[in-house]
């Protein structure tokens, strides 16, 4: 469900924003970068295109702004859905493809390595966790599921 911009404005109450700046003043990413949360909300609610801004990807989704917003704007949720649109347009950090591919290939974002497998044994844990990654049938089913959802196609499209 990639929401379009008008639905993002409506569903996350962006119009209620009174530009007080509490979100920016609370933002751990904003302290250390050019992310200006208040500006993103202003632009988005005014219908100005924000989807090409790299700063969309500087948010750590810590939810501090959303918790503190005096008007109840769902700031973090809005940023997440703006990213959904930005990604479809090809604005996303390419390095994330590694993690998405790892999930498709192994079902884990951080796959098991031989070194860690050794540490697991030394600690008396099973060499391999009893997860989907180490269960052939479950893994092939999981890949079938991954093939049917949007994220894989979207990434393939965006890379063209």
């Amino acid at each position: 469900m990639a929401l379009d911009l008008p639905s993002i404005i409506k569903n996350f109450d962006l119009r209620k924003c009174m530009q007080c700046g509490k979100c920016s003043a609370s933002c751990p990413a904003g302290f250390e970068s050019n992310l200006k949360t208040r500006m993103i909300i202003y632009m988005a609610k005014s219908g100005i295109d924000v989807l090409d801004l790299n700063e969309l990807w500087s948010c750590t989704t810590c939810y501090t702004c959303q918790e503190r917003c005096p008007k109840g704007v769902k700031v973090t949720d809005a940023i997440i859905f703006l990213r959904n649109l930005a990604a479809r347009r090809g604005n996303f950090p390419r390095i994330h493809l590694t993690a998405i591919k790892a999930i498709y290939d192994t079902s884990n974002g951080f796959p098991l390595t031989p070194e860690i497998s050794k540490i697991r044994s030394l600690l008396g844990l099973s060499k391999e966790p009893a997860d989907v990654a180490h269960n052939e049938e479950a893994l092939s089913k999981f890949r079938r599921l991954m093939e049917s959802i949007d994220i894989i196609n979207m990434i393939r499209e965006a890379q063209k």
Partner: protein
């Protein structure tokens, strides 16, 4: 009571010491944990940022796995909780999306019904403070810098602690006989979430540096976390920064394990990036004092 343990990618595949401490501590507490075939939760910062629906389907597959056993799903990670707790709540609040999700899950003979619960392990510990107090064998004399991380507390729709003034970890630390030290921006993010850890390393490290500066000034012996991803950032991240902080990092289950008298080697503390030698020494001394 039985729970289906959802260790998450990082505890399984990067910090097995956290998985080990979890199994020991929960056994001591008489809580049975079972293993089930899980996938990545999936990572909220990355997957949900790209496609909300894909995120929801993969999360629902995991929740449905615990549901098929008829027991609650237990996470030991804020990130997994941020995904599985939020997805479960979303599906329970949006019946029309359950249908949508089940169309996908049906293809692999699975089904989400919304009959189980997703629990953060801190909420189980919370209910057992007197039992934990009883089980403490060694009083570790440690100054602890508590790091709540973000997604146990927020969004506050999860319920539980007040995100601006949480108390539970302070209570647990006290119950173990340690001291919680105060520092500015204690509740702020470690800089790993939202895909920033992999997507923007400079920013991720700058946020971490700011946090560690405050913790160092507070004179903490160690940092305490409740999330393997925060743990990864706080432990491995120290090795990526120019400043040498050398502050040991412990997941809550590791600190409880030490307090229960379990040796640091058995808990795998030596597998961390930042040396935990001082913590181990402290625990050894406390164990000796006990014998005298």
């Amino acid at each position: 009571m039985r729970y289906s343990l959802f260790p998450g990618c990082i505890a399984k595949n990067l910090y097995p010491s956290i998985e080990k401490a979890t199994s020991i501590v929960f056994k001591e507490l008489g809580i049975e944990l079972v293993e089930d075939p899980y996938t990545c939760c999936p990572a909220p910062g990355v997957i949900r940022s790209y496609d909300f629906d894909s995120w929801l389907v993969i999360a629902a597959r995991n929740i449905a796995t615990a549901e098929a056993r008829g027991i609650p799903l237990l996470t030991i990670c804020n990130g997994c909780y941020g995904t599985l707790g939020a997805a479960d709540r979303y599906l329970k609040e949006h019946p029309e999306s359950v249908e949508r999700v089940n169309k996908f899950l049906g293809m692999i003979e699975m089904r989400y019904q919304g009959t189980t619960r997703v629990i953060h392990f801190v909420d189980l510990i919370k209910e057992r403070l007197p039992q934990i107090r009883e089980a403490v064998k060694v009083e570790l004399d440690l100054k602890v810098a508590i790091h709540y991380g973000c997604h146990y507390l927020k969004p506050s729709a999860h319920g539980g602690e007040n995100p601006e003034r949480p108390e539970i970890l302070e209570k647990i630390v006290e119950c173990l006989g340690c001291e919680s030290v105060d520092f500015p921006e204690k509740l702020s993010c470690c800089g790993a979430g939202g895909g920033v850890w992999s997507g923007n390393e400079d920013l991720s490290m700058a946020i971490l540096q700011r946090k560690l500066n405050f913790i160092k000034k507070a004179g903490a012996d160690c940092i305490l976390d409740i999330c393997p991803f925060c743990h990864l950032q706080l432990d491995q991240g120290q090795k990526r920064l120019k400043t040498r902080f050398e502050i040991p990092v412990l997941h809550l289950n590791q600190l409880i394990g030490l307090s229960f008298g379990i040796k640091d080697k058995i808990l795998g503390l030596h597998t961390h990036m930042v040396s935990t030698r001082n913590i181990a020494k402290n625990a050894k001394k406390a164990r000796k004092d006990l014998l005298q």
